[in-house]
Symmetry: C2
Subunit: 260 residues, 2 copies
């Protein structure tokens, strides 16, 4: 692998954004420099703060460096449905920044560190370097896949299965960014959040948690989960993490990386 020295230099700034995009596409030093220049701001957000409020305009992309958040909608009857739990490496502002009036709200579930850039600036970069537009599409496909799995969860899985699936998903996603060990996780969320994500009541969620424990599939210590029987849990949840293709390199312009 040539150019090692330059590569390391550019990597000095490697936010969660770079790590995330690298799952889909090769990024050279020039790419990373471009990305860094895009960032307007490093933002610190306190727990329980609303980041995006339904009905307002919001045209930024925020990349989570640290902390957790939830994308949700509040219904007239006071019920809340959480659409997705956001972890380090995830993007806030998708898909909200693409519509005129945000349809969902996002709230910080813990203190957070974010990197912010304007959507318009990102789009401008995409025009200059098409690979970023593609990376955004891949990221969107990833997001959509998780949403779809969430639909399956809520629609046709029983409450225990749902919970099992949720635990495995969170574990897999945290492990993918190096924040979880092989067979354990610290849950980033309260039971209320889980129940709002999984479309059930808090007491029932609690009982299902107890059931998983009783069946010897997990052990619990506060919010620390240990997967006692990963196989059994996976089977119960029908869990199989999707593996994403990488974006093909441009055919005509091989070596573009080196020029940059």
């Amino acid at each position: 692998m040539p150019g090692t020295i330059r590569k390391i230099a550019a990597d000095r700034w490697d936010g969660p954004l770079v790590a995330r995009l690298r799952r889909y596409v090769e990024l050279g030093p020039a790419d990373i420099d471009d990305l860094r220049l895009l960032m307007e701001d490093e933002l610190n957000v306190k727990k329980r703060r609303d980041l995006i409020v339904e009905g307002y305009e919001y045209h930024k992309l925020c990349f989570i460096k640290e902390g957790f958040a939830a994308r949700y909608k509040l219904l007239r009857n006071g019920k809340r449905q959480i659409v997705s739990v956001l972890l380090p490496g995830d993007v806030i502002g998708f898909p909200g920044s693409f519509v005129n009036h945000s349809v969902f709200s996002v709230v910080a579930l813990s203190d957070m560190k974010l990197e912010v850039c304007a959507l318009d600036d990102f789009v401008a970069l995409c025009y200059r370097r098409a690979k970023f537009g593609l990376a955004l599409s891949w990221l969107a496909a990833h997001e959509a896949t998780m949403y779809a799995e969430h639909i399956i969860d809520i629609g046709r899985r029983t409450p225990v299965e749902r919970l099992a699936h949720f635990l495995l998903e969170i574990h897999a996603r945290l492990a993918a960014v190096g924040r979880a060990a092989e067979r354990e996780v610290d849950l980033p969320v309260s039971q209320e959040v889980m129940s709002d994500a999984l479309g059930m009541s808090v007491p029932h969620l609690n009982r299902m948690l107890a059931k998983l424990r009783g069946d010897g599939l997990i052990t619990l210590d506060g919010r620390h989960v240990t997967f006692a029987d990963m196989r059994g849990l996976r089977q119960l949840a029908h869990f199989q993490p999707p593996s994403f293709t990488r974006i093909p390199a441009p055919a005509a312009t091989i070596g573009q990386e080196l020029i940059a």
Copy 2:
């Protein structure tokens, strides 16, 4: 508006794909030509045929010219959850073509006409014209928004509300491609499909349909729905269609279109 003659010529071929992408971005004659060249095939598919089967590789994008389909997953217990109903102008292969082994299946709900292109070819085009990569992102954001709304539906709306929301969504989407009148739709799907989409049993769906009829919100004649009280239905369903931003034009290269 200059260049009218060329524009009309190019517009002669305007599949549902062009109409769909135009919701997000300006397309010039050169763009449309490029798109047309991409298309490998026009495909006819019979009702009940599987288009994508879970677990297999699939790396094409299909644009629906005519007909309906459903993206779904079958669970071990025999239950089926429909993730989304696909209408003319929609894309088959998203997000399935972005993962190594498709997680969902797609089945034709009616006879269909499709335009097919290879994902790799589309990606190659994106490298040449960045706007297509962005268009794909926007389309993906649109898809993700619908999925998210579907999660809300199943998770926290009551069965009647869910059904009402479903009817309104299908109506709005069909109207957007000119296949539905102001206050009526021909449902493209059976009650079994609806129940699998909404995560309830067929009998219950049927009763909720009867309830909407009884409450004077809709009238039914076979699969022809007339919205007797659109306001009331919208309120019941908390329905508000998202409106999408358009992709900003490239700042530096105004007039790029003319060169092409």
